[in-house]
Symmetry: C2
Subunit: 246 residues, 2 copies
């Protein structure tokens, strides 16, 4: 009998073409589906993620759901998956979920964290998880700029998909920016994010942080509803999906 | 005028054939010497490390010294090196040292840390810096076994070089083993270590930790002075040189 399972997954996105499966390319969803499909006797399996992370973006706790017909219990599924998945993807939890649980439709909030390092000597061990900065960041200026981005807005200027036809209005509850030694962490919580939206917000805030833009300009960028007004898309490797709320 | 500099270096050893230069192979010493040689106008340069780490072993703070004839000051040397070194090697400090300072001869102690993970789900982000264990480790048994290894002993059974002709007597002051969630950290402080010595001690302690050997056996292994008596050489990737004392 088919049952619905909720999965919590952690991955290092460095060598993947993002979450969503693509023909002939390594993706996280593709890896998960391959392992689960084999586990269930080579039947097709659909893993539904809470969202799609871009190529190179990491996740500490992506949530997904999947319907499986297997005699194995949740613990056995977790053990099986971790045995056959590569070491840059780990399944943290497998739980039997209600029949109606849908990882994408039921998600009510997401937290992303973006990590930069602006100290003089770049740390080596976590180098795949932060974006190195050549200039020192002024966190206070970045915080001022971030306030303009909080709330409910039309984030069209921060949308990487130029052909987006649906609404580009979203709510970003909080943006917190804090420094710990040479690291600067930007944490975004919102109900949902457009394609590349966090990375474009970060790219814009970094321009404020190095003095290339004024914090007040962010209001005009929002109002203009034009991607060209915002800063560049910050590199993928600094970004990590840290939590999904249900 | 040639001056002597002390360097503090951090590296991820994953893709290197160890510290010591070898023809046609990527080594940490080789990388450092190439960059410094270019900096000084293509004159040959000898970087003397506090010790040699094996292929795949990491360092948080290797110490080295090098004689350079350059008009640049220590800060400028540091900046230059970090600009041209790959991102898995970072120079943390460059200081003018006394003419007689020798990173190997003057070293009076070293601290190595070995990291294992024995929890059910292996973390992905630091996967290149710990050794995954299939069985749960009994830290108390490992601590009992480690006591036999502390002190001044002939560590011939823990020497990876079977043709070692010099003395294999060393002093290991302290071995501490502690658990933090699924991680088990083994920290060794001693005056000096033989080739592979830390990894063979770890390989032996892990056999005790999973119940394959009794803690008391370690005494007989030491007394036997025979490499075959000890456990296997634990994988390089869990090992990190964390401190050198002068």
């Amino acid at each position: 009998m088919e049952q619905n399972y909720k999965l919590k997954i952690s991955y290092d996105g460095t060598r993947y073409y993002g979450w969503e499966h693509q023909p002939d390319r390594e993706t996280v969803q593709g890896k998960l589906e391959n392992v689960l499909s084999r586990m269930c006797g080579d039947v097709p399996v659909d893993v539904i993620g809470a969202g799609r992370t871009d190529a190179g973006v990491h996740a500490r706790a992506m949530i997904a759901n999947v319907r499986l017909d297997t005699p194995m219990d949740a613990d056995a599924i977790l053990t099986y998956m971790n045995r056959y998945l590569p070491d840059d993807i780990a399944v943290l939890e497998v739980r039997l979920a209600s029949e109606r649980f849908h990882a994408r439709y039921n998600a009510v909030g997401k937290t992303y964290q973006y990590t930069c390092f602006d100290g003089p000597v770049k740390p080596v061990f976590d180098r795949k998880y932060y974006t190195p900065m050549e200039q020192t960041l002024d966190v206070e200026r970045m915080q001022q700029a971030a306030h303009y981005l909080e709330g409910q807005h039309d984030y069209k200027s921060f949308c990487g998909n130029s052909r987006m036809k649906k609404s580009t209005v979203r709510i970003v509850d909080t943006i917190t920016i804090r420094r710990r030694k040479g690291y600067v962490y930007l944490t975004f919580h919102g109900t949902g994010f457009l394609q590349n939206m966090v990375r474009i917000m970060v790219g814009t805030l970094l321009e404020v942080g190095v003095g290339r833009r004024e914090p007040e300009e962010v209001q005009a960028i929002l109002d203009g509803c034009d991607r060209k007004l915002a800063g560049p898309t910050a590199p993928a490797k600094g970004l990590c999906l840290v939590k999904v709320d249900y």
